[in-house]
């Protein structure tokens, strides 16, 4: 287990920022922390990196407690904070040497670490340049380069793509995906497509609590609106079809309209999965069923449902 938390909480004054969060992350997963701004993503990450101590509960990284064995945890984690803080007066080289030195790397190991960062983050072109002169995309890469310098087991990236232009976003995502082949990665985001593009698992956080946890397909399945079915039927009488469908137990409403000569398109809203009964009904009524589908709900819908509306996404 790479990360294990038990009822992890952080309160600022009385206000809980993170409220009894329990989860575990296996080695090799790429996990997305998804949630609206202020949901507690950053606070959770800060507790995992040992920057903020929890108010109550525990968290362990690779079996080391984040409070009592903070130095051990910090050695194993690469962390990129939300705003990508860097020193504009240093060059990329000076900065990486500085971080590497504080990571305890020296000589050949430092050179190898820097080489790896430069290689995987594409920093060769700007290696000798001052950080202050770099574009936002390059700064983000320097930030990630800094985080992987010591080849950490766990990479924690707080909103690694915020503020980047679309092509830079794609670059950073590709970088994260390729890093995720060898490492455990946690990234936070409020961009849903990012989670779909990069992560194997998503934790949706809202108001300091985890409201959903699972693989993306899994989440879609569990939160799919079993309620909606669309079908295309070859039948003559749409009133008859409407009546028969409406008579099925569990159906809330039926909306049917002719779709070309002899075809009827119908939308059925129901409380449960009605694909089987609808199919049997079609067979027994002698309808030719051309289409029967249950649209999977998008991550956006799940997200909005779980975080209580579209306050800020």
């Amino acid at each position: 287990m790479m990360i294990e938390t038990q009822r992890l909480s952080k309160r600022y004054g009385r206000e809980p920022a993170v409220d009894e969060v329990t989860f575990s992350i296996r080695r090799g997963e790429i996990v997305g922390f998804l949630g609206p701004n202020g949901a507690g993503k950053t606070t959770t990450m800060r507790m995992l990196t040992g920057y903020l101590p929890p108010t109550s509960g525990t968290a362990a990284v690779a079996g080391h407690d984040v409070v009592s064995e903070s130095l051990e945890v910090r050695r194993r984690v690469g962390y990129l904070p939300e705003t990508t803080p860097l020193y504009p007066e240093l060059t990329v080289r000076e900065y990486l040497e500085f971080i590497g030195g504080l990571r305890g790397l020296a000589g050949a190991r430092l050179a190898a670490g820097i080489e790896r960062s430069v290689e995987s983050c594409g920093l060769r072109k700007v290696f000798g340049k001052g950080i202050g002169e770099l574009s936002k995309g390059y700064r983000q890469r320097v930030g990630i380069g800094q985080a992987i310098l010591h080849d950490p087991d766990l990479l924690i990236l707080d909103e690694p793509t915020s503020g980047l232009d679309p092509s830079q976003v794609v670059e950073v995502r590709d970088l994260v995906s390729s890093l995720g082949k060898e490492k455990t990665v946690i990234l936070s985001t409020h961009v849903l497509s990012e989670v779909q593009a990069v992560c194997s698992r998503v934790l949706i956080i809202s108001a300091g609590r985890i409201v959903a946890d699972g693989g993306i397909t899994e989440l879609r399945a569990t939160h799919a609106q079993a309620s909606e079915l669309t079908l295309l039927v070859k039948a003559a009488d749409d009133a008859d079809l409407r009546a028969r469908l409406g008579a099925l137990p569990g159906v809330r409403s039926v909306h049917a309209e002719p779709a070309g000569v002899g075809f009827i398109r119908a939308r059925v809203a129901a409380a449960e999965d009605l694909r089987e009964p609808v199919f049997r009904l079609a067979v027994s009524s002698g309808w030719t069923l051309l289409e029967l589908s249950q649209p999977a709900s998008s991550l956006e819908e799940i997200f909005l449902k779980l975080t209580g509306g579209g306050k800020s996404i």
Binding site: Y12, R46, T49, G50, Y51, L52, P53, L71, R74, R75, V77, Y79, P81, E82, T83, P85, L86, Y87, E89, L90, E94, F98, I99, G101, L102, R103, G104, A106, Q146
Partner: protein
């Protein structure tokens, strides 16, 4: 200890990659040069005493200007979050930064050695006393630097760090100056707390271990406070 060295190196890079160090050194040298030459030509003294007497006052303004950015800058830029999540102790961060500021101050003081050396061509300079004076200034400088470092650790605004640092140094600077207004019991304490009596001894050429210990204790105390204040930011 290697972390301290890495931080020291980066801080020196920062000082010397930006105009801070050069502006500081230039202004400090011009002012102290003026103090030297006025003592030499106006009063006809071949001594460094004018400089030594005024130096604490110079320190009040110069030291906060080099210490104000030490932590405030990291806190306001957010780079402290990176630093604090590296496998480095707060004490090592404090020590590295303190040593960098001390190096800058030491280079400024070393550059002013030109003055007593040139004065020595014009007349006899008491070498031992001059050295003692420089030693005393250095010790006081360390104590003031540690106060400035502490001030910088409590706020992310550099200008506030300057003012807080200035006020702390001012308190220690003035404590020994108003002893006449207080009853003997209080004034003895004030006299001991203030830097005046201690720097006075040293600049007269009397190196008393008690004065040395005074300055080093003060330095250690404020460096400890600095590390404590950085640590306590996390517990809020």
């Amino acid at each position: 200890m290697s972390s301290v060295r890495v931080i020291l190196r980066k801080e020196l890079l920062t000082y010397f990659n930006s105009p801070i160090a050069y502006v500081f050194l230039t202004v400090f040298l011009i002012l102290s040069g003026w103090l030297f030459s006025s003592g030499m030509f106006l009063r006809g003294e071949a001594s460094v005493s004018t400089f030594i007497e005024i130096a604490p006052l110079l320190f009040l303004f110069f030291i906060p200007s080099i210490t104000m950015r030490l932590f405030s800058e990291e806190l306001s830029r957010g780079t402290f979050e990176v630093l604090a999540t590296l496998p480095v102790r707060d004490g090592e961060i404090v020590l590295g930064k303190f040593l960098a500021a001390a190096t800058l101050l030491a280079s400024a003081l070393a550059a002013t050695l030109v003055f007593p050396v040139s004065v020595s061509f014009a007349g006899d300079v008491d070498g031992g006393r001059t050295l003692a004076s420089y030693g005393g200034l250095g010790l006081m400088g360390l104590a003031f630097l540690s106060m400035g470092a502490f001030a910088s650790s409590v706020t992310q605004r550099e200008i506030l760090a300057f003012i807080v640092g200035f006020l702390i140094m001012m308190a220690f600077f003035l404590a020994g100056k108003f002893t006449v207004f207080f009853p003997p019991a209080v004034s003895a304490v004030l006299d001991f707390i203030g830097v005046d009596s201690h720097i006075g001894n040293i600049s007269r050429g009397v190196v008393d271990t008690r004065d040395v210990i005074y300055f080093l204790t003060l330095t250690g105390f404020f460096l400890y406070l600095t590390a404590y204040s950085l640590g306590s930011r996390r517990w809020k």
